[in-house]
Symmetry: C2
């Protein structure tokens, strides 16, 4: 593979001059520019960005560390991040942690060694060694979707507010026994959604039945298990609140297997919409996050940090959720 030296020699100039042509920096006369261009063409020269990065200390690479690209929520995030990053000349390295802190930590170590210019991270837990390490290395970092015990840029949706609205919606339909099928206890989105749920109940003067609040994984299996559990209560809840899309799908499956119709027998609402592309028949009432926008905001903020254009203090961007009422919760029920 030819190097910049070869190009320079062929064009009869110094390497730095070739460099100036390649990067379009500094003054180069039109004639030498032509010659260098010709040499590049003739040799099939491809600049080596690894070498450039070593000098310039910039890799033009961002790390996107999320839990599981298989969740359409994160898929959309990944797409948004990649779009914005690519538009600004950055590449994106993708990593799936599966909510495992050790996996997250070892990814972060490698990514730091690779000298990524910045991190977009969905921390597995609220107290994250990974976050501390990144911060210690002084690499720009934006936390996505969740909050964390550290002074960092954060971009997330208003989980508390979305859950509040969703719960109010159910209350307005007459529901009083609403089960909250939440995610892991140590993830801020779980906690915030439960908080919104509690606030709505409190405001409506409905006492909280703690047995109706369950924590499990943000998975289909979690939704299935939690639904089976709450539906066995006597009396069973009249409505289920699934704290994310996978839980909702698991809940729906469990209800169907149990012969319960939605919404006739039980109402079901969820957090996170599924992309319209997947749905032949949108059915579920949800608090929809502005997912693509979230990715855009986060990436934009990170790029501004890299460019030194962001305010010095950590930013906290919170996006609203959109209540979308569909058939899964359309029935008004009597009290009791």
């Amino acid at each position: 593979m030819p190097t910049i030296k070869d190009v320079a020699r062929k064009a009869g100039v110094a390497p730095i001059t070739a460099s100036r042509v390649i990067n379009d920096t500094g003054y180069v006369s039109e004639s030498t520019r032509q010659r260098v261009r010709a040499a590049i063409e003739a040799l099939g020269y491809v600049p080596n960005r690894v070498a450039r990065s070593l000098r310039s200390k910039q890799t033009h690479t961002l790390a996107l560390v999320l839990t599981d690209i298989t969740n359409p929520f994160w898929t959309t995030v990944a797409r948004g991040v990649e779009d914005i990053a690519n538009g600004a000349g950055f590449s994106v390295i993708l990593c799936n942690t599966d909510e495992s802190e050790s996996k997250e930590y070892s990814y972060v170590q490698v990514l730091l060694q690779k000298q990524v210019d910045g991190f977009l991270l969905v921390p597995a837990h609220g107290a994250s060694r990974s976050v501390d390490l990144i911060l210690k290395q002084r690499v720009p970092l934006v936390i996505l979707d969740r909050s964390v015990n550290a002074a960092v840029d954060t971009v997330c949706s208003d989980s508390e507010g979305g859950a509040y609205e969703l719960t109010r919606h159910l209350l307005a339909l007459g529901h009083r026994r609403i089960a909250m099928l939440s995610g892991p206890r140590d993830v801020s989105t779980s906690v915030d959604r439960v908080a919104g749920y509690r606030r709505a109940l409190a405001e409506a003067g409905v006492p909280v039945n703690e047995r109706l609040i369950i924590y499990h994984a943000f998975t289909r299996e979690g939704g299935y298990a939690m639904t089976t559990q709450v539906m066995a209560l006597m009396p069973p809840p009249t409505a289920l609140f699934a704290a994310n899309n996978f839980i909702a799908i698991g809940a729906f499956g469990a209800l169907r297997e149990a012969g319960k119709r939605v919404p006739e027998d039980v109402a079901l609402v969820g957090f996170d919409d599924l992309p319209p592309t997947f749905m032949t028949d949108p059915f579920l009432t949800v608090a929809a996050q502005r997912v693509y926008e979230l990715a855009q905001e986060a990436t934009g903020l990170l790029l501004r940090r890299l460019a030194g254009e962001a305010p010095p203090e950590p930013q906290a961007i919170v996006l609203p959720t959109d209540l979308i009422v569909r058939r899964s919760s359309e029935l008004r029920i009597g009290n009791g």
Copy 2:
């Protein structure tokens, strides 16, 4: 940020000795090893892989260039690639081309400059400048899902065979007017699926009605448009064959809007399943690809190439598809 020199100085050794400890190569006495380790710890030293890559000419990074991560098919591929790559100590850079050849080409240029060790590529077109460029730079390349006019490693599903089976299934149910809603003409999967469709019809002695074969984008909109078009024919088809998952969803939407029931009024089958995680109620008969396996095979092959363990001649791995019959095509119809 401390460098290997700082570590060496702190440990009272030469940089190369520190290097030997860090990479666990060559002989180092236990006592100096301890001192170096202590120095690393004390300084919070993080090895710089950019510098290492410049020397070693290996970045331990793979490029995954696909059309759109938003399609669950590619999402699963991305997950599979990342799992295998990460297990072997490689990172993955993700790129979405949206089937645009120019986007693809500019990505490939950048990725070559970044000295990725290998490419996993879903070419936008059969005759790909990108493929030629990668081959010219002698960077290992595995083509995913599609075939291409070049001698390269390829991993794909048996599109022809899957389409053949799916069509036979419809024929066995009594369908004779089966519309083929295909993808772009210049993508091999489209062509192969149409070929399988034709073979099944020919074998059954059913004449091909060319107006029932349409090409469009592999999108929901494409499926919608094609369905509207074929359903306007007199007589309309009794069954629709959607050449991918998005086309199937678009087709389903168009049918519902037109007041047609599936399968009572029209049967519908598709290529590519949706991941079970998304489906509250699996409904569509499909030729399911072994998506994760496809990603595994492709990444495995690429890694073997990098390790010099693959046979010199280009490999062609073809995975079977699985016919999954569901309600969308369960009705037997009369002839006529």
